[in-house]
């Protein structure tokens, strides 16, 4: 049993699938995230891969200061990611709303709506910092496992 638990821990650590969610970002952080997939940084050697569907993902990478229009999407997509899951806030915007703070259309920061595990500040952050952040999130996710009170998302 212990062996199985260790195998599961290692697999979660070695195979983080990420889902990229833009909540009104200026596209700067998004470009830096995509750079991580390119030959220069190649995150696939760490087992990280970008998924198109939140259902397949483990780590939600959120960019942008959370605009009023995207708030519902953020909540929906967070609930669609299956447990165990972790959230990485990429860039300064999801953490502090950055230069957009005080705007009437910004309802952030992100941590008011969903629990954030790792902040990667920067405007935009360096790809190395993003990779380190995703790895940190994978470690948190593997250590935490499936929470006791976690329930599956209710049917549509």
């Amino acid at each position: 049993m212990n062996l199985l638990k260790r195998l599961m821990h290692r697999s979660r650590l070695k195979s983080p699938s990420i889902f990229h969610l833009n909540t009104g970002s200026c596209n700067g952080c998004d470009i830096e995230l995509v750079t991580c997939l390119s030959p220069r940084y190649d995150v696939e050697q760490l087992g990280i891969h970008l998924e198109g569907s939140p259902r397949h993902a483990d780590i939600l990478c959120v960019t942008g200061p959370v605009t009023r229009n995207t708030l519902e999407a953020v909540k929906t997509i967070y609930s669609q990611v299956c447990e165990p899951k972790a959230v990485v806030a990429l860039g300064s915007c999801p953490g502090s709303c950055n230069v957009f703070a005080g705007s009437p259309v910004i309802v952030g920061p992100l941590s008011k709506y969903i629990p954030v595990d790792v902040y990667v500040p920067g405007c935009p952050p360096h790809p190395d910092a993003i990779v380190a952040g995703i790895q940190r999130a994978a470690q948190i996710l593997a250590d935490r496992g499936v929470p006791e009170n976690a329930k599956g998302e209710p049917q549509r």
Binding site: S11, K14, P39, D42, E44, Q45, S53, C82, V146, Q155
Partner: protein
């Protein structure tokens, strides 16, 4: 049920060989695509880690017939693939199943049909689009696939798998093998025929709504399809005669070379649109296949 049949199903080329081999082939596919793009690529155990991780995910709760069907399709797909792999005539001379090519072709079709049904069952718009694309592509490539098998069968004058296995220097045999190789990219849904799961357009196609263990089964099924289809071609180019262990080694070696060739081909090509794929199969490949069947049948009729 005799011992040889059990060995085929459980040991080689069945479960004990096929499951690790499927992870290995998927790794070779990902690694060679990465190397072609000048990346380092995933570590050797990556497909295994992905599989175990998915088994540990908490899946969304579903109710009713949808819950049953969404679990049924990947299970059926995996089972039929294990059956198809066990049918492969790896060893010469009556060892294992003395199956018919028709059974093998039927079993090879099941994952594709399950994939289409999964897309419609999931109720996701991306799933439905992916399912329609897969259905159209499947109709397009199957004409060539079946005609190629018929060409080989006519050359060997039998539909028995043990009869069509083993290399033959008849040109009809090689045209048939080439035709099957042409169909493998469409059957495995990789470039340039990856329209059904085109991730930049429709996310994961029919698998968009899948999560956790069911998704893990789909990934296993995809790996097993690699083993079954490359193994099917491998059995037809292994020379007849020789010891059984030599056949086993050649079977694995030739399958590996095919995986390497096909993934290099996938990395080197872009994605066709659906129309281009159909045009490729129905205009060019199908004409060749029909000519091949007609000439081999004519030669067989004359002799």
């Amino acid at each position: 049920m005799n011992a040889s049949l059990l060995i085929h199903f459980l040991l080689f080329p069945g479960l004990l060989f096929a499951v690790p081999a499927s992870w290995f082939y998927v790794w070779v596919e990902r690694k060679s695509i990465a190397r072609m793009q000048r990346r380092i690529g995933p570590p050797l155990l990556q497909p295994f880690y992905d599989f175990v991780k998915l088994l540990g995910k908490r899946t969304p709760s579903r109710h009713g017939i949808e819950a049953v069907l969404l679990r049924l399709w990947p299970a059926m797909s995996v089972l039929s693939m294990v059956g198809a792999i066990a049918l492969l005539p790896v060893f010469p001379g009556g060892r294992g199943f003395t199956g018919d090519a028709v059974v093998l072709v039927t079993l090879l079709e099941v994952p594709s049909i399950c994939f289409i049904l999964a897309g419609f069952t999931s109720g996701s718009i991306f799933g439905e689009i992916g399912a329609i694309r897969e259905a159209v592509l499947n109709v397009a490539c199957n004409a060539v696939f079946l005609l190629s098998i018929v060409t080989i069968a006519v050359t060997a004058n039998t539909f028995q798998l043990s009869g069509i296995a083993g290399v033959s220097w008849n040109p009809g045999h090689w045209i048939g093998v080439f035709g099957i190789l042409l169909c493998i990219p469409a059957k495995l849904r990789f470039n340039p025929f990856s329209t059904a799961n085109a991730e930049q357009e429709i996310y994961s196609g029919p698998l968009t709504e899948y999560a956790g263990a069911a998704l893990a089964m789909w990934e296993l099924s995809h790996g097993l399809e690699w083993v079954a289809l490359t193994g099917f071609v491998a059995t037809m180019v292994v020379p007849a005669g020789g010891a059984w262990w030599l056949h086993a080694i050649l079977f694995v070696a030739i399958s590996f070379v095919e995986v390497l060739l096909l993934s290099t081909f996938a990395a080197a090509t872009g994605r066709f649109t659906l129309e281009q794929s159909i045009r490729f199969y129905w205009r060019w490949a199908a004409i060749l296949a029909v000519l091949a069947v007609a000439t081999t049948a004519y030669v067989r009729f004359l002799s």
